[in-house]
Symmetry: C2
Subunit: 408 residues, 2 copies
């Protein structure tokens, strides 16, 4: 049960000229479901990517990074669900290479121009033969208005496909920004999440595209958590096809500012969609920590709250057992924190003031907030100008059920 999240209609998802998408049923893990996505990028486009910092990063992550670093202009992305090809060593790398080579042959480009992505179960051999066999069907399906099917083809435990789209008037021309993402568990991205793809038809030089990607990742996928488990496969890609003819020359231009805002909005909408569809989620929680010395300590305290199983089960139960939030603030590792200055709000309700229970706080006020499907926790440290915002969900019976039964 996702929290206030509707599946996008195909009409909401604007095609991005210069990029085609095709899906197929390759039977990677189970037959009869869309589990293979191919993206073909027209000549002249640019691609930027950020990847998981998990040391056990998956074979496709290694290979995608290597191909991006080779300087070859990317022409295709190939994504499978059902198998993560992580924890698979040298053999996993060979299987990912086999898939890339087959895509290159299918589309007539060099193998270094193909970027591979995988998601699903870890430490099982990738059925590369079944993926290769599915490629002709995916290629035959390539078209620009295929984002809705694409969003479906990358789902694992997601209950709802995740996509977002914006268009942007720049004088007489229109830019489009459309993206898809997947993820519901093993979500505490560190660089990006498994998997996000955002595309625009602006023309953006590689360096500028990369800095935009970093900024968008930081404000979106790098600010969410479901269970604190950083995946082996997190990848977030930003694609600029250039097909609109709008050239973004520098970060100082008004065109860049407009594009930046739209890319940020799409990225944040996708990242929040992952939390709304977090495994077993019944509540969508915004955690804002302000008054910190720097952003890092605000994020540290925010994550301590967002990861605490005790805080998350209290949200599930709609029980304002809010001392658990104070406990999490206290163990977040900000060793010189003066707790006697800390205020805690639940939406507009001042729960704790100067480190202790607010004398005017009434349990029924906390209860009223806790019953809502969307809740904001705000902590004011009163020791500096910095702040940070994270998004997370609650922790329910269904989280345990989903993850206890994931492979069965």
């Amino acid at each position: 049960m996702a929290v206030k999240l509707l599946p996008p209609t195909p009409e909401q998802l604007r095609p991005v000229p210069g990029l085609e998408l095709g899906v197929a049923m390759a039977g990677v893990r189970k037959p009869g479901r869309k589990d293979l996505l191919l993206m073909r990028l027209a000549e002249g486009g640019t691609v930027a990517g950020v990847f998981t910092q998990n040391r056990f990063c998956a074979a496709p992550v290694l290979l995608a990074r290597r191909h991006l670093d080779s300087g070859a202009a990317p022409r295709a992305l190939v994504i499978n669900t059902g198998n993560a090809n992580a924890g698979t060593g040298e053999d996993g790398l060979r299987r990912a290479q086999t898939v890339c080579a087959a895509v290159a042959a299918q589309l007539g480009c060099a193998v270094e121009q193909v970027l591979p992505f995988s998601t699903g179960v870890i430490m099982e051999p990738l059925p590369a033969d079944r993926i290769v066999a599915g490629l002709p069907a995916a290629a035959a399906d390539l078209r620009a208005d295929n984002w809705s099917d694409a969003a479906q083809a990358i789902m694992t435990t997601d209950t709802i496909p995740k996509a977002a789209s914006r268009s942007l008037k720049l004088g007489s021309r229109t830019l489009t920004i459309t993206g898809i993402a997947k993820g519901a568990g093993m979500i505490k991205p560190n660089m990006a999440t498994m998997l996000g793809f955002v595309a625009t038809d602006a023309a953006v030089p590689a360096g500028l595209l990369h800095s935009l990607l970093r900024e968008a990742a930081d404000a979106s996928f790098n600010s969410i958590t479901v269970d604190g488990d950083t995946s082996t496969n997190d990848s977030f890609m930003l694609i600029a096809t250039g097909a609109s003819g709008v050239k973004i020359a520098s970060a100082d231009s008004p065109e860049y500012a407009a594009l930046r805002d739209a890319v940020m909005a799409v990225s944040i909408e996708l990242a929040q969609a992952i939390v709304r569809d977090g495994e077993g989620a019944t509540k969508f929680i915004t955690v804002t920590v302000q008054g910190g010395r720097d952003r890092e300590e605000c994020r540290r305290i925010g994550y301590a709250i967002a990861h605490s199983p005790l805080v998350k089960t209290a949200f599930f139960a709609s029980d304002p057992n809010l001392g658990r939030i104070l406990a999490a603030i206290g163990y977040a590792g900000v060793t010189d924190l003066d707790t006697s200055k800390v205020d805690l709000y639940l939406d507009q309700v001042l729960v704790a003031r100067q480190g202790g229970r607010n004398p005017e706080y009434r349990e029924e006020d906390g209860n009223a907030v806790m019953k809502q499907p969307e809740i904001t926790v705000r902590v004011d440290l009163h020791r500096g100008p910095a702040e940070a915002t994270l998004w997370t969900c609650d922790f329910s019976f269904d989280y345990v059920k989903i993850n206890a039964e994931y492979r069965t």
Copy 2:
């Protein structure tokens, strides 16, 4: 349902001469249950304590530390369950002082000679008046052979009281070491856990007692986790009454070595009992990380595994979805880890070799281990001589249930 943990019988718990215990029903949170424990220490004893490093440490923790630091010889400990007196600011401190003053009056000692401890709900006012009213009954109950009732009087969500006892022959004399502990959730002690009390009738100078306490805490309560939430009230106390007449002069003496071994054994048994009775626990998991450069990195990887909700739900399901363990190793923050050297064992089964699935690993072997109530995860990093062992439990429906309904 605790994992292979039986309640101690009163006969198993040897009295420690020089220490008396008395319990009462003070109605701190609910009427009709033992929730107040008083300990009276004979003159001449020594006490050492370690406390939580949570910045939101509770009022009784602040006060116990202050009284210990005052140099006054402790004569009494007073412990209530049902209310943690944490996140309660100056008012909480005053209420803890009221309780200490009443104990001092009851037993005829100075207020600085009383050490207070509380456990229960956070951020609610301590009903000091009810505790004070219960003190005469607790004082009337004081006796040396009362450890079993004492273990019961400090329980919160514990399903089974936790106690351990050893005796030790030193020539013609016998030393006794007996301890109690409580805790089932909000368990990731940092210095000690809420609450452990171990007593011996050896005579140990304060400095030596403190170093023994630190060593015991490190190997026991500081090596367990249930949910990664470090409590506001963790306290671990070591009491030496001296009533046996056996004087431990220095750390080099054979008497110290024997006492040390017994204190370590009692502390580890109590710490493991907390994990066995962890909220909702159905499995007891030992995590050993070896071949590390230093103990710190072994512990970091061990905690990443022990805290991962995905790993813990897989144990609950008896599902050898062991790639999740590799993912946790990868995000533990050991940034220069060479994953191609990492081996992973489940009991004696080699699951992953050199960073990838062991070609000889068969799913049914993993399954057979996962079905047992006690499981050892062993990771070999092959990069140094250090190792560390932690204990944890799985993550079940009942954990969510217990914590969603804690206050109702």
